[in-house]
């Protein structure tokens, strides 16, 4: 009986917060669509989120490109078709790994920062101060962050993709000596432009997901120092989980 009650409570409170989250999403989306638009804030966040996450996206993409190259090479070696490695790496990077990697890195770098910033604004009553000054926090705090992340993610994903392709090329062709011409031919053959577009769509969706989750965690945090910590942790956990879960769904839909 006690157990039943517990279970009931958990699902009820989960439904409650799910409802709260969708209300938050609705408010945020309407703030993105409707004026007042805030181009300055938007550009500012493009800068901090985009350039801020660039380095780690580049580094991790280079590393992933490298290991994908190695593993691909080792498997394909058995069949004597190592020149396909490039095509294989390109396809899996474009369709799956580049968007996911960018999503996880932006979560770590910028999502956590969003949650921390917004929740510490709550500690200092700055969110209430905005409301008191007749400015919607959705329009001022949330919308520019979500929009900037959504726009910047496909760009970061593209940069990561290029870097990973270069690093696997460097390893497989330059170092391991696979035929350059054949390698490129198979990248061309296997990778289509529509793959790239779908990868970018994924990246944009991940950007929207991670930024709205992170902003939500900050916006509904408890207004104290512990609350800031909890919000940041939850933002990273939930964003990462939802990126990976939604990736499966997107893969089923898109491919």
């Amino acid at each position: 009986m006690v157990l039943f009650n517990k279970v009931g409570q958990i699902t009820l409170s989960n439904f409650h917060s799910l409802g709260k989250f969708f209300l938050f999403l609705a408010n945020s989306t309407s703030a993105i669509i409707r004026p007042p638009y805030r181009p300055r804030l938007f550009i500012g966040f493009l800068d901090t989120i985009g350039f801020g996450s660039m380095l780690i996206v580049v580094l991790t993409s280079a590393a992933i490109g490298l290991v994908m190259g190695v593993q691909g090479y080792l498997i394909l070696q058995a069949f004597g078709i190592t020149y396909i490695t490039g095509g294989m790496v390109a396809v899996s990077m474009t369709r799956e790994l580049a968007p996911i990697l960018a999503g996880l890195m932006v979560t770590a770098r910028a999502g956590s920062a969003m949650a921390a910033e917004i929740s510490s604004m709550k500690v200092g009553e700055q969110v209430d101060a905005l409301r008191a000054m007749a400015v919607s926090p959705y329009s001022y705090i949330i919308a520019p962050r979500i929009l900037a992340t959504t726009v910047v993610m496909p760009v970061l994903m593209s940069i990561g993709l290029v870097v990973s392709l270069l690093s696997s090329y460097l390893l497989v062709v330059v170092i391991l000596g696979v035929n350059d011409y054949m390698y490129r031919q198979y990248v061309d053959l296997l990778l289509s432009f529509s793959d790239y577009v779908k990868g970018m769509i994924k990246a944009a969706v991940f950007g929207f997901i991670l930024s709205s989750i992170s902003c939500y965690q900050g916006y509904y945090s408890r207004a104290d120092a512990t609350g800031v910590g909890i919000a940041t942790t939850n933002a990273v956990i939930w964003s990462s989980v939802m990126i990976l879960l939604s990736d499966s769904v997107l893969t089923l839909i898109l491919f």
Binding site: M121, E125, V135
Partner: protein
């Protein structure tokens, strides 16, 4: 009725039986009061009696559980956040802790309401902001960030931000708490002259006895969820209401318990 009693028929904001609880704590049990238009009203009372909550209720930042809050006769407790957002343009609130945006300079904080709600050209914004910051003794701190200011300095920046638009209703939550006596009188003077100059309805939460005895047109005292005293500053001096007598004379014995 004495001649200097404000006209309580010309009311801008009215609380009718307002109750508010946080968890099990009943902050407001039954608050009924009227804020006279174009006058200075002080809200006093011991720490933790819900004075800040009362100001926030007045602009819909906190919703009461019961009762009505009328602004020009219209109940704001029934309004959506969207409607409230529009209505708040008529108000300005100095938060007790300042609530400055810590990601903007002092200048940008004070300029914020002008930039958000007016089309004032940059040169004019600059002269207004500098002028106001000079008045509160912070000309030297214009380009500092809030994190680099002392508590009293933050308070004065927040005050400048609150008064820059000359709204219809200005609310100050303990504007002089934590300031030295000289700066206190400078700020009191600024509050008074701003009110006089633009005929702004002013609501001040304060513990400062000196200010309470000199500035307000009308005073309410809050204690344990009720209004326990109301009157003009002249009434106070002759009152035998045990709450206000104890408060004004800073006595530890009386109906107000310290525990």
């Amino acid at each position: 009725m004495k001649s200097n009693t404000p006209d309580m028929r010309d009311v801008i904001v009215e609380f009718q039986g307002v109750a508010k609880r946080f968890g099990t704590q009943e902050v407001h049990k039954d608050i009924t009061l009227k804020i006279p238009r174009g006058k200075i009203t002080y809200i006093v009372g011991p720490s933790g009696t819900g004075k800040s909550v009362l100001l926030k209720e007045m602009i819909g930042l906190i919703r009461p559980d019961k009762g009505a809050i009328l602004l020009d006769g219209e109940d704001i407790t029934k309004m959506s956040e969207k409607e409230l957002l529009l209505l708040r343009r008529r108000f300005s609130l100095l938060f007790q802790q300042g609530a400055l945006f810590d990601f903007m300079s002092v200048f940008d904080n004070v300029a914020f309401p002008l930039r958000e709600h007016t089309k004032t050209p940059p040169a004019e914004i600059k002269s207004k902001v500098v002028n106001l910051l000079t008045k509160v003794g912070l000309k030297h701190a214009i380009y500092k960030m809030p994190g680099e200011l002392s508590g009293g300095m933050k308070k004065r920046v927040a005050l400048a931000r609150a008064v820059i638009l000359h709204p219809e209703i200005l609310m100050y939550d303990e504007p002089v708490a934590g300031l030295d006596p000289i700066m206190s009188s400078v700020i009191d003077n600024l509050i008074y002259t701003t009110q006089q100059q633009f005929n702004i309805t002013t609501v001040v939460v304060s513990h400062d006895i000196q200010s309470i005895l000199t500035i307000p047109d009308y005073i309410y005292m809050l204690y344990k969820g009720y209004i326990v005293y109301q009157g003009t500053k002249e009434d106070i001096k002759t009152s035998d209401n045990p709450y206000i007598v104890q408060f004004i004379n800073a006595k530890k014995d009386g109906p107000i318990e310290v525990a």
